[in-house]
């Protein structure tokens, strides 16, 4: 494990940003100030951050419906993200994508995805670009435990092995798909990926340092032409499937227990490897994070909605006189 002091600060800053961002999203959404459906990433922060910490803008990720944390970890600007999540004209996708389709090509963020299992083939394609151009870039697909059953995921695993793609299958096993607890034991997903012929391991997704180790190895393997890797990060879905789902279907005692043991942030701070982060430093970082989020919401709520003509931007097939 090599981790520079700057990386350590970044790791904390990004995890904490995701946490505060999501909590604020939740409360604003509950007040009816944000459109669409949102899926909150709380308690999974260590996975996204460990996964993206050593990536650059030339590396790619394909995200999921639960994508806010992936965006932040990959370096998307908070303000531009918020403008998109509120469907404003100056958002990353001009407000046309919203939470489930947010993308930032300049950061190698190839989109959240409202189609479960939609991301891995796209990530495989990005890995093919990297391999063909020989530029040393890697590509990662985030995949839920539920998504791991999709045929597209199996097909992508196979393709990545056959073509020896510089790709990482980052499974986030939060043990729930919508209202249904995963019938698979922890580890089954990694086992399955491994059976396709790639290195795979199961990691505690709330242990940032273990995750970072595994990601460094996987990324290095990809960059060095060693082919794909699968990581099953076992974690906890803190809130309901989407905001507004009170998860009455969950055993409340079990939920409370899982929430407590799987919060990655206190665990990170309690680790001796994070000792350089003094209380004072942390306080400064926290203040800056809150200010950035506050500013983002201020700008967002003052921003204009798209004008009606924007319905037709980025349309490249027109039928004159009978658009409707």
């Amino acid at each position: 494990m090599d981790m520079s002091p700057e990386k350590l600060v970044d790791a904390y800053r990004l995890m904490k940003t995701i946490r505060e961002f999501e909590e604020r999203m939740r409360s604003e959404y509950q007040q009816g100030k944000l459109p669409g459906f949102i899926h909150i990433y709380r308690n999974q922060e260590a996975i996204a951050v460990a996964a993206c910490l050593d990536m650059t803008n030339e590396d790619y990720i394909a995200s999921t419906h639960r994508g806010h944390g992936h965006c932040i970890a990959k370096g998307c600007e908070i303000e531009a993200m918020l403008l998109e999540l509120a469907c404003k004209e100056d958002g990353l996708c001009n407000g046309k994508g919203g939470s489930m389709h947010i993308a930032d090509m300049s950061k190698g963020m190839l989109g959240a995805n409202a189609i479960v299992g939609g991301g891995p083939p796209i990530a495989a394609g990005a890995a093919l670009t990297a391999k063909t151009l020989g530029n040393g870039a890697v590509s990662m697909a985030f995949i839920g435990d539920g998504a791991s059953d999709q045929g597209t995921v199996a097909e992508s695993l196979n393709l990545a092995v056959v073509l020896q793609l510089p790709m990482i299958f980052m499974y986030e096993n939060n043990r729930y798909a919508e209202f249904t607890r995963s019938p698979k034991p922890d580890g089954r997903i990694a086992e399955r990926a491994g059976a396709f012929g790639m290195p795979s391991e199961v990691i505690d997704g709330s242990d940032f340092f273990a995750m970072y180790d595994a990601c460094q190895q996987a990324i290095a393997r990809g960059r060095d032409g060693g082919g794909p890797t699968a990581i099953e990060a076992v974690c906890n879905r803190y809130y309901g499937h989407f905001e507004g789902d009170a998860q009455a279907y969950r055993d409340q005692e079990e939920l409370a227990q899982e929430r407590a043991v799987s919060d990655p942030i206190p665990r990170f701070l309690a680790d001796p490897r994070a000792a350089a982060l003094t209380a004072e430093k942390i306080a400064d970082i926290d203040v800056a994070i809150m200010a950035e989020i506050d500013r983002g919401f201020e700008v967002t709520y003052a921003a204009a909605d798209p004008t009606p003509d924007k319905l037709y931007t980025d349309v490249y097939i027109h039928y004159e006189g009978r658009l409707r």
């Binding site: 189609i115 999709q150 209202f179 009606p308 039928y319 409707r324």
Partner: protein
């Protein structure tokens, strides 16, 4: 009894599962405590057991394909494709398998499968959860496509769909689930290929389906206040299509507006316009007018989405334009 479309579908599933033990329900979260995302399958697991109400993994190809395979071999599955947009994941099983068994196997096989699916815009869920796609389905020989616009029709048509020996895709518009109306008690069966005249009129015919049948009805009510008598036809099933009712109404009114939430190109509106150009030409007093969504994806942006789907105002404007031709 008065009930919502959501309740009518739930009730029909109860009735048909009771009536025929070969009827099973399968899909993502259908056996969960909340009865799926919109509570449609509420109460079914408790009554019929988890062997007949089956939670599946998130694998649409396998859900739809296995439903087809089970139908081919003796069950009468009702599979749920949560959003019609997920058709993208499982199209092969519908297009190349289920739709073709009976014909391709020389009549040896029947495939009594129902695929229930949610369609339409209006809930801010964006490009991959808001599509209509029924024209794509109706274009497949061997697939029946059903689009109820009210709770009574939902009950009658779903009953028929489950009892039908061939594949049916049952399209539920998510913006209509809470619409309420009087629903006949007990057994209620409606034939496919029979449109309903939801309002009679003499000046113009407005054809709609699913949510646009409701919009057409609202437009007709407003037009009546202006002294315009519009006849509203709710197609109810898109394949088979009740061509006769459209042509008969047109023979009476001489003018036609078709309202369809699809993208305009290769839409149901285009299909009706084609029908009328070919077989109703002599009865036309004005060009047919199509009111559809634009030829774009559905934006997540609420203000753009509101402008996307056909509105009462746009239907009224189209009617007035047609009348002043």
């Amino acid at each position: 009894m008065k009930m919502t479309i959501r309740e009518a579908i739930n009730l029909t599933l109860h009735q048909e599962m009771e009536r025929d033990e070969r009827v099973i329900v399968l899909g993502e979260d259908v056996a969960s405590d909340q009865g799926g995302v919109y509570g449609i399958t509420d109460g079914l697991p408790a009554k019929f057991g988890l062997h007949r109400v089956i939670d599946t993994p998130i694998t649409e190809s396998a859900i739809v394909g296995a439903a087809g395979g089970a139908a081919l071999t003796g069950l009468r599955p009702v599979a749920e494709l949560m959003f019609v947009d997920f058709l993208g994941v499982c199209l092969d099983q519908i297009l190349n398998q289920i739709a073709k068994f009976r014909y391709m196997f020389g009549g040896q096989a029947r495939t009594p499968v129902v695929i229930r699916t949610m369609i339409g815009a209006g809930t801010g869920t964006g490009p991959q959860h808001s599509q209509i796609l029924y024209p794509l389905l109706a274009a497949i020989p061997g697939i029946k496509v059903v689009t109820p616009a009210n709770a009574a029709d939902a009950k009658g048509l779903l009953t028929t769909a489950i009892r039908d020996d061939d594949p049916v895709i049952f399209c539920e518009h998510k913006a209509l689930y809470m619409d309420e109306c009087e629903v006949p008690d007990g057994e209620y069966v409606l034939p496919f290929g029979q449109a309903s005249i939801s309002a009679e009129g003499s000046d113009i015919t407005i054809v709609g389906m699913s949510r646009t049948a409701v919009i057409a009805g609202e437009a007709a009510a407003k037009l009546a206040q202006k002294g315009i008598s519009a006849e509203v036809i709710d197609l109810r099933t898109l394949s088979p299509l009740d061509e006769a009712s459209v042509l008969e109404s047109l023979a009476k009114t001489g003018r036609l507006v078709v309202v369809d939430e699809s993208n305009p190109y290769c839409s149901m509106a285009s299909e009706i316009a084609g029908l009328v150009a070919e077989r109703g030409f002599d009865t036309l007093d004005a060009p047919v007018k199509r009111v559809t969504s634009p030829h774009t994806p559905v934006p997540a942006t609420p203000c753009l989405e509101a402008d996307y789907v056909p509105s009462v105002e746009r239907v009224m404007a189209a009617v007035e334009e047609t009348l002043s031709y």
